[in-house]
Symmetry: C2
Amino acid sequence: MKNNAITSRDVDFAKWYTDVVRAAKLADYTSVKGCIAIEPNGYAIWEKIQSIMDKKFKELGHVNVQMPLLIPEKLFNQEKELIEGFAPELVWVTEVGEKKLDERFAIRSTSETVFCDYYKKHITSYKDLPKLYNQWCNVFRYEKETRPFLRSREFLWQEGHTVHATDEEAIEETSRMIEVYKWFNHEILAIPSITGKKTEKEKFAGAEWTLTNEDLMYNGVCLQDGTSHYFGQKFSKAYDVKFTNKDNKEEYAYYTTWGKTTRAIAAIIMVHADDYGLVLPPRIAPKQVVIVPIGNDDAVLELCNSFNKELNDKDVVSYVDNSNKSPGFKFAEAEVNGIPIRVEVGARDLANNTITVARRDTREKINIKKEELTVDYIKDLLETIQKDMYNRALERQNKLTFEAHNMEDMERILNKQPGFIHAMWCGDEACELKVKEIRGCKSRCIVDEEPIDTKCVCCGKDAKHHVIWGIQY
Amino acid sequence: MKNNAITSRDVDFAKWYTDVVRAAKLADYTSVKGCIAIEPNGYAIWEKIQSIMDKKFKELGHVNVQMPLLIPEKLFNQEKELIEGFAPELVWVTEVGEKKLDERFAIRSTSETVFCDYYKKHITSYKDLPKLYNQWCNVFRYEKETRPFLRSREFLWQEGHTVHATDEEAIEETSRMIEVYKWFNHEILAIPSITGKKTEKEKFAGAEWTLTNEDLMYNGVCLQDGTSHYFGQKFSKAYDVKFTNKDNKEEYAYYTTWGKTTRAIAAIIMVHADDYGLVLPPRIAPKQVVIVPIGNDDAVLELCNSFNKELNDKDVVSYVDNSNKSPGFKFAEAEVNGIPIRVEVGARDLANNTITVARRDTREKINIKKEELTVDYIKDLLETIQKDMYNRALERQNKLTFEAHNMEDMERILNKQPGFIHAMWCGDEACELKVKEIRGCKSRCIVDEEPIDTKCVCCGKDAKHHVIWGIQY
């Protein structure tokens, strides 16, 4: 039964997206323009994202800290490219009570400035390095057009800021962290994202170069979902972060930063959700199984409760929906909320030794015998769903992956069905700008793959890079 | 060996406090005046506080959300007492890029306004109630005098915001949550705090009444460390939060809020730390045991590593200090960082079948036989340390708890050694103000205890309340 609160995905994708956000109670608009309230269902997903990523970061030796929210204007101004990149989006605190402050403070849009200012004071020798700091926090960017999770003026993220004694180590860290994001998307979110290097035009303001993790949405639009920046000595020179190296010589430190945001929730929706609501990959689902008793039969309730306890004891997050609602209402609610597995237990079925298990991803109903309902059965099914979701997303991504050898190819593909478009590039920004004229298509990343042509897709001169292009959110 | 970086606690308590914060690398000052950088050692304590409290909140049915950081001025202005209470401390965002905004936005100093604005939209029937929402976030108050953790312009906290269909339920929630804070301090932080009701003068701006959790520091100064506010229908009237009750009548909802902050870290320091640095109660220590190998003997290293693994497998958070430093340096570092237990393993001692276990709280060194070093031994010792720390704090608190029957008593006590001062009060604010003339002593809370006199400590008229007074941070 189609959810009436949700516009069909194939009719109006943008409307479908916000309908799912509202119907699954993930977030809502607020009186603060461009800022959302992340509601319990949405925040529970973010907590799960945080806990899995944070564990991984710590395994790799990172530690968490918390730096100030406000950045004095003069501190921001020390690095020209960064302030230029962010200036139009920065909001400024200028008053306290009714008094004007002597100096403006920006609300952090990113924290390179404060981290470098901290490191300047705390790093003196190579023995202090590496510093592998991360923080989970809110940031603010005054975006013009906003959409829940996808682009919000305030959003939540983690930002890693690491300092190293050698160039090699910093380069390795930059690559290592983009691989962590890719691993997270592939293994946890069931999203087959690709990684590569941003072009000069698309890199992070102030970085030497940027690695990016790019997802492909159901509609063929691309989403940047995690970036890792290599700064070399650029910021350490601007902020005077020096150390005495092993040869007892003073040297500027090597710096990297990397971040992933609540935008990951937008990716989950736009890759996996459907016309019935949210569909959560089991490994990120805050609740993996809902057990719905049908009727008030004692044997039914007892079975529901005891099986629920069995699941919880074996680390499957399940619950019994004991609320005072009709079974149909409960089914629909579990469906719109994207809970991976629904177990339906009714007196009549039980008399026939039957239990119904419904998969959220395929909406398939499976009738099993009562004795087949075991913790292992559920665990296996959760793993099957996780894999199937990944494989379906990969299959769709492959279908929406194209090759272009000239601008006619580009135009034809982009006007018909956008996706990941492989095409060669000469390295000239002018060509990037020409491609952008076609429906705003941008370079997503330079990939380390075999060339598909010898000539640039745009100017026809010798190609230097294999690039994936696409329309972006 | 006394830590040279730390001023003696009995010589200069304020200096001692900031010395401990710096020596244990908990936090540092930044270029942003009044704002600190919470460093890895400090943030790890906050993470531990969060994880234990969050688990408790969830057991009680609360769920986490995230509301906007910025509050439009007109939203703040809807509740007069709140804006009046916070106005001088509010900082305002007035510009984006180089443009002036049409409206000012305050950085949240507390989020009653945005939560009520959200609830207004999302509550229609008693069936929607209760709403038990909480958020972990940063808040900003432009304080004049600041001290790391104790009073910082930006700080981290959790703020619970709950809405109920009946007055009774809201009152119960207000009490329940102050008991949670008390439980947390007693059981986890080993701080024997007291709870009671704030006077009208000292209650939260806009609340009907406030319950508070008050700690006593080593120097006899009081610290408010967790408050729970009952708003009745005050805010729901100001923000139009209505619902249809069981009798199908429209009614304003009943509202409570409660919060605890990074100030808890200040309390840990000022109750437990000493001239050698931080002392962490085992239940809040991010690292509970450090194992220090002395020398490079294979048998020593093997024992250290295998025992460490045993501890970790049984949920004791331990680590082997394998760093390239001298044993003396490692001992001092573990000491200043407040790690509850240090295990020293040396080749010579091992030959004598001896291992040394050092308690951080008492600085006692215990020689045990090798076979006595078991996971159970360490677990028991951690529990003993936890209890002993609580008992010592309680004993000191009892010693610093006084009774005053008149203003001469008050003056004598406050000039000699401040602490928790029990005294009766008539309920008149004029008397509170008179007491405040003595070294700024304030009512901490009204307690539900037997009267100690029939007359007010100040005016001598009939007493209404048993109050605990003290000098506060």
